[in-house]
Symmetry: C2
Subunit: 206 residues, 2 copies
DNA sequence: CCTACCGATCGGTAGG
DNA sequence: CCTACCGATCGGTAGG
């Protein structure tokens, strides 16, 4: 129970909001997967019966849609914010990378569900998410192309596959990030940026 | 039906081996997830009833264990083969990268199930797989450290987090690889190696 | 590999 | 948010 809640008269618990339900669904979908989470599991997490959830949401699919929509919004916000800045392509790319890291660190459950459970979305919603991911990737391709034009990114870099590689490093954070880890979000982003921008081999000829 | 099979007398189908069942389980677990695949789904895939599968395997968990064990064996083989070669750390790292790409391309279903469904393994098996993944990562850390000692990898590279980044790029292939794509396994490996070894920014000072 | 089942659990509903 | 359910589906078994 949070410090701001008033203790109920006898052994009860505060009523849950719809947002509480969606947040709890994010936690369980992230940990056990969509198909590995039952409505009764979710009820337990919230201290109520599975059947009681239907006064908050129409069904289990609706919860998946909402959790993933939240994840999509967070990631989309990074692209929008980076596009609003004026600066070199390298600066914009760095902003995209740092923004992505912060979304993962600040919203790990929604990010995990977004990345791993989208395939279980109803078809119409799934298509939307695929389109959004394509647009996200396209933003990376675009900024890489601009970086090549500006002379800051090597001319022999392929924007298409390089966008995939950069997003590979970023998305993998969703798998390995643990809040209890020793690195802060800023430290992780710094190390990622060094790896992405600089590679690892000394005096590479490219 | 494969070309080597003899057509059954009337509308039947050839009996399935245990290996057929495990291979089909890999296909479905990779596509729909472990919890998204029922024994009846798997029976359909093989042209038999779900209940008939129990003459081949003890249960659904056993199938997950076997598919993932196959994946683990393939990846482990790459580390063993790379360690047998004598050469510079850079050569060994390149062999590890190319070997990993080939396992993903040649055994995509087992690789996918290994990466995405291991968390649903019975606890004892899950622990084994976690240990195997730790050893796999340790092999990368070790070869990176050797590369630094040999002067071929920059001294300010952190072997621990860099191993994670390299494996991020490699493991993401499991998500985006499509056999119908335009790049061959060798081309993909070449591009990955260029990205990992060289970075993307021109004239980086490191 | 099929027939014929089993108990447990699933997502979900009616009515309060 | 609970009581009291529903039909469908789940993993799995006995016996052939």
């Amino acid at each position: 129970m949070s410090a701001t809640e008033v203790a109920p008269v006898s052994g009860g618990s505060a009523p849950r909001s719809r947002d509480d339900v969606v947040a709890a669904a994010g936690r369980l979908f992230a940990k056990r997967g969509f198909h590995g989470t039952s409505m009764r599991d979710l009820g337990d997490e919230l201290g109520m019966l599975g059947s009681s959830l239907y006064s908050h949401v129409r069904g289990k699919n609706e919860l998946l849609v909402e959790v993933i929509a939240k994840g999509a919004e967070f990631f989309n916000g990074v692209v929008v914010a980076a596009a609003e800045q004026t600066g070199s392509a390298i600066d914009e790319l760095r902003n995209l990378v740092y923004g992505h890291v912060h979304v993962v660190v600040d919203h790990i459950d929604e990010a995990r569900t977004f990345l791993f459970e989208s395939r279980f979305l109803p078809e119409a919603n799934r298509r939307q998410i695929v389109e959004m991911r394509d647009a996200y990737e396209a933003a990376y391709r675009k900024v890489i192309s601009r970086g090549i034009a500006e002379g800051d990114i090597a001319a022999d870099v392929d924007p298409g596959i390089t966008a995939i590689f950069i997003l590979s490093v970023l998305n993998a954070l969703i798998r390995w990030y643990r809040p209890s880890g020793e690195r802060t979000a800023a430290e992780i982003a710094d190390e990622m940026w060094a790896f992405i921008s600089g590679g690892i081999v000394t005096g590479v000829s490219r």
